[in-house]
Symmetry: C2
Subunit: 205 residues, 2 copies
Amino acid sequence: MGKGQQTRERLMDIAEASVLTKGFGATSIDEIIAEAEITKSGFFYHFRDKNELARAMLLRYVENEDKVLDEIFDRARELHDDPLHAFLIGLKLFAEMMADLPSGHPGCLVATVCYNERLFDQKIRDLNERAVLAWRERFLTELRAIAEIYPPKDKVNLEALADMVSSTVEGGIVMSKALGQPKILAEQILLFRSYVKLLFLPAVN
Amino acid sequence: MGKGQQTRERLMDIAEASVLTKGFGATSIDEIIAEAEITKSGFFYHFRDKNELARAMLLRYVENEDKVLDEIFDRARELHDDPLHAFLIGLKLFAEMMADLPSGHPGCLVATVCYNERLFDQKIRDLNERAVLAWRERFLTELRAIAEIYPPKDKVNLEALADMVSSTVEGGIVMSKALGQPKILAEQILLFRSYVKLLFLPAVN
DNA sequence: TGTACATCAGTGAACGCGCGTTCACTGATGTAC
DNA sequence: TGTACATCAGTGAACGCGCGTTCACTGATGTAC
């Protein structure tokens, strides 16, 4: 990674932390460049305007989340051949990873885009929507494979159930932040896992 | 309600809609007073500063949410004596109410406080935390009564399960906003309801 | 009923600071021949 | 190896606008006697 790309990443790191705690509108370029120890013109060398920073930041965030989810659920499938058990293992690994974040999950950029929607252009909102739809497809694929083998014990819409993964994470992050208790996010993921167990597993002890 | 109080409410209505779509930092007083058709000095007659607007807005929001939840779950208890069935009825009523919002849930102020935490003073963050803790206590009371009669089929922390109500709503709102599909929130509440059924109900058809 | 005064619900003008953005310029590094 | 040029990764100064806040003032309504 060249010097330019390094600075660019650093600017996005600083901006992301600020956006997650102050919102995009209250995150000023002055503040970012002060922390990055660069001039304002240096910032505009890397990003045409503030909206391009937002776009680049969101793109990077979503790609990283996808990578993390790939790793976790690929690993889970390595550990068990059965789709249900692999999914349950994946959720456990996911919860553990969230519990291990030193000062809790810093927040989800996708959520801030939703709660700052009028600050962004259509391009960014589309990117945000596609990211969430990709998560839906990812988990829907797993759930369909599970439901083929294990008939669900309650009538559920698998698409909504797939969304429940993302929903649980988004909700868990808000609850963790509101109460200042990082562990809540992991707890919520484990409750979702409990639901999946009760819904699909034939015999729960 | 006097003329002053009416203006005050109107200012908060406008501010709330803006905060939920742009964040607190990007919500300007100029913008609020333009929509309210009042001068800037008129605004400062009602609120000492911007932070007092935030405090008043959050307080009003939380009190209203509490009132709505009271109504729904009181009504549910009127409809069924058994605590589990009353709770399930309450969740159904809640989901229906969320589904009936004409253009979807506008967003939760508690979530925006979390994602704008560095913009607010300790007083506001405390108020936010107390609101979430009150929701926890509310649902924990119901869940304890349920668990006394119906032994849960999976080992769950009832406090976390109580939090799951708020978490589901927060997550569902984010998902609804991200995908522009208001119905998602109601779906997520019904999935939580399905979990409660599977967890406590002895025989699900 | 009339008068004096207080409170309510604002107005109008001004303030200084911080914001995002532009523009002309520059030293260091990389590449072609 | 030396030279010419291009690209990279920025600097420095200036811009105009919008922001939150203050202050002295005011007309309308309410209250006491």
